[in-house]
Subunit: 339 residues, 4 copies
């Protein structure tokens, strides 16, 4: 059940209702003038209670807090150098792995030159094999932070487990939750207890409901600075692309949720020469930003070299993406013309 | 093996080589100054033969005739009112099914108004259930042809089996081969024996190699007026969209083959309010055209109503698509910047 | 709507009802004492009509004729040397392709020695590439028929298109419809007009509803001698097996339909050394038979060598399968213990 | 590289080689008389070194320690009441969630009566939604342990994150790593540092290589008491079954690895009336055990009720499974007949 209270909110009545609902029992959330009571499918309000209420709906999805029913307006995440969501378009770029202090600093400058305001870089790497490069660890985080600061950028980096949340949180503006950890519920709860923004990657075989329920694990702990990242799904079709980039997920998610939706064409396709057309397609599909991997020497990258854009290609890609974004901005909202 | 002969082609030498190759045995094709000999992985040329040859490659894929190795330049299909392929961008639109003489005529006018030069409409419908509407048959083809002629458009319509090829061919400019028939090899051979253009839809679980091999069945019979249609694949993710639109297939196919690549966002997503963002995404991904379904009263459409665009939405969609196409045209080719 | 008439059937009343239903309009089928009226969701019977009726249900699935609601008891297909369905267990074996008169004759003897009563062999081969071996054509059918007759076996062979139905029908006891043609609706209708049994293979990405609807195309034309073949589906997992063998489809289909369900472990896994464990698994899952490929010299088979069992392995496999079948037969029906 | 030393192992020479390899650098493991040096593709041995070596291979897969090349003989895990692997067949059963002290105790007795020697039960539940029942936590572990002890059984229960490893380890004989955590690499490393057996479930979209690489994360930390659980994968086909049970994974895994392979038909199909046929199929496919969910009142189970077997059905299922297992045991190994 979602209750939309009249404004201004009559807080005493809201608290009275909250207490009743929690006794049902139900988990109850009051955010601004909206209350969500999980699992409640019917409720009798007193006349006094009813007088404080604008609207009640019982058809909220399982991901109530993330739903448009709960919050119709877009979430906008405010970081020192970046706003994510709403009408903002955010470019995030950087190397797959932080490789050295010097390298990440140079890559930050390239990223910035292309219009990126968020620097990406992995210090803890979730690799398929235990014998692959696992990242520089905390040293990598330091280099990443310094490189970002030097270029006036914000930082996004992956946190892989609960014990690392505090430490990683000292260096980053955004926790990235990787595709393999999308349903690591303990980790979701742990970052949900912080006030650091979270970029949640869709799992390889996660439905959109799975993704939104995973986001709900974060939100239900109190952290609402969440954005979602479409990065390709696993299908039968993987000879020419690493994954299948599910671009229709972008407009679907934008209908279902108020969280920003960002595209990751690099992981979606896994081949550098397909990144630009897919980055372009993502903008046209309505993505509110992109996250891409860059490297000045992909052949010697410590991870994911084949999908990294060289600086020159990256700069050309961002030029195209921003031009398409501008064309897109000239259109009126069209989604509801038919009805 | 692909032999690229020097220009001008020394036809007698080419014929001599062809005879030797056919005796191996191999299926041999000579098109302009290119010869393909299927399955040949080594061959000793005489000095005289070698003198007529520019280049020989043995690494052609199984879909030799369709490959860029065999024909580097784009195929352009020329129809009375339309060119498909190369730098052309082709809009195809119309109702899912031809429903009546009057209806298809009105829909043709809408399609034309949005910039379409090809009218689509099904007269023979491949429906999952035998008890669903199966199409108007030959009467539907007549209405479709007349509607197209009246609006100076070309016709694309599905042919479902070998016995219908001749009859359907009397009414249409383009045979559509549906997704369910993509590996109906007898049908592919039959349309391959005509000189009518073929729009080949990717099967629901077809890899790109499967699709290109299916096209090869058509080409190997002599018909090279082929274009490919990406219309979504079947994956685990089908709650909010009917299929998963595999947009990365567009740039991949454009690298692999010289055939035009057209996008079908209507079938890919199956929901009208997702068609515009996906049509936009397809242009940005490099599609050389789109095929979409329109209907003035989707709720009463005889098939696929949920994915049909109403006229007003269709016109807004085409306005966006052509604007994005114009932006795209302003970019230089970027695919090979990195190397 | 399904009407179950009282026995003995009052034919005049049934015909009266049929006429009314057809006028709705609806497609109406009367088979023994069951009537199916497609798409009818409500109907007022006269008192006289009602008196002839045992039971009426409106919740039939789209594949009405194939459903257990329409025919609770198992279909049993009777061939000269074989019964398929019910408590029978049918082994079908033979080479992938008919390769020569002598070869198929020898393979028939091997097949028979292992307990097979149906000889398989392809004369028209649906190959991914047009340049692969396409089968011996009608000559192959003759060899196959003679080999089966010599060993007192029935024949199953693939028919690929409508124009071939009559000709292939002269040689075979069972039409096989291949996975790629599962939704070749014209072909389904054509074999539905014959009285020759049909073995319908599940398409690579067909849901079970798709499969049952495809069978309905055959049944709605009057041919009810249908069995279904599970042969693996296409998923992301194809490094070690050609397809993913969906064995749970066997008990699900046996709940939904009265048609026999046969397993094809050869195509499902595509590797000979996995065929025996999967053939065993299929029996244990409740398959009513198996169809497998055998070859005395797989390395030189004209198609699908890697999945062919050598005679010795085949004989060992059938020994295991029949032993497990015997163990299975010793169990009581267990599917409904819980409720 | 895998080095198989002659027996008896000359430990000083082995240590000398190990030191050289580690200096390359490489991660090096010496287990009994086998040494694995990760990533080493060539190495020059001195004559003295060579004299201590039986065989060297460089074609080990990325999951070296788990591979048959490294350890040809089956791993057998020895627990107080159970041996897992080799020719043993292990039944594991219990409720999805530990619901109460009394309930789990009663379920343990049912499980035992059906031949189970391992009691399963979740105290920490990875639920799609944060608002679903999350398990009883440590209290649940106590009840589970007591119930198992009372019935002379071993315990398997899920551990969900790194901070819980020590605590859960005080109660369980086997850590279960759930499908959603299969690539939670931090967790894999943490259980790898214990000496408690680990049952690793295949992820919903994990390839078999992914699964074996995940096991390698555990093994590379020193814990070799690992078994693998096939529990169904996510495909397009999910109307009648929750997942697609990939039974061919069982014989494939048994070829690739020495770890025991256990089947989980309950999660694979998600419907109780399909569990028995699939449990039977798993035995026939070569599974070395099964893990199933039971409940005396599925309609009121706190999680996964639809797939739980009632006691009577469970007892019938185990009767069938053990009978089929006995039939299977009567066959000779057949996998290599053809060659």
């Amino acid at each position: 059940m979602i209750i939309q209270f009249k404004e201004p909110l009559q807080r005493d009545i809201a608290q009275e209702i909250k207490a009743k609902l929690e006794a049902l029992p139900s988990q109850v959330f009051l955010i601004r003038n909206h209350m969500a009571a999980m699992g409640v499918k019917a409720f009798d309000f007193t006349q006094k209670e009813a007088s404080a209420i604008e609207q009640v709906t019982f058809d909220d999805p399982s991901f109530t807090l993330g739903s448009r029913q709960f919050q119709p307006e877009d979430t906008v995440i405010e970081l020192p150098h970046t706003n994510i969501g709403g009408d903002n378009f955010t470019m995030m770029a950087g190397p797959c792995s932080v490789e050295s202090e010097d390298h990440v600093r140079r890559m930050a400058k390239v990223a910035k030159a292309g219009g990126a305001t968020v620097l990406r870089g992995g210090a803890f790497k979730p690799r398929t094999s235990p014998y692959s490069f696992q990242g520089l660890g905390e040293a990598g985080l330091k280099y990443l932070r310094e490189a970002a600061d030097e270029s006036d950028m914000d930082v996004i980096t992956e946190v892989m487990d609960v014990p690392h949340v505090d430490m990683v949180g000292q260096y980053t503006d955004i926790f990235q939750i990787g595709a393999r950890n999308m349903q690591n519920f303990s980790l979701l709860k742990a970052v949900g207890k912080t006030n650091i923004a979270v970029g949640l990657k869709r799992g390889m075989s996660a439905t959109l409901d799975d993704l939104l329920n995973a986001a709900e694990y974060i939100a239900s702990e109190g952290n609402h600075n969440i954005f979602l990242i479409e990065r390709g799904i696993r299908t039968f079709d993987n000879k020419y692309t690493r994954n299948t980039f599910d671009l229709a997920a972008i407009p679907v998610l934008r209908q279902l949720t108020h969280y920003p939706v960002i595209a990751d064409p690099s992981h979606a396709v896994g081949e550098w020469d397909l990144v630009t057309p897919m980055a372009n397609a993502a903008v046209a599909a309505g993505a509110q930003g992109e996250i891409v991997e860059i490297h000045d020497d992909p052949a010697h990258a410590l991870s994911d070299g084949p999908q990294a854009l060289k600086p020159k290609t990256y700069l050309e890609m961002t030029r195209e993406v921003f031009a398409l974004r501008k064309t897109m901005a000239s259109f009126k909202a069209t989604a509801n013309v038919s009805d």
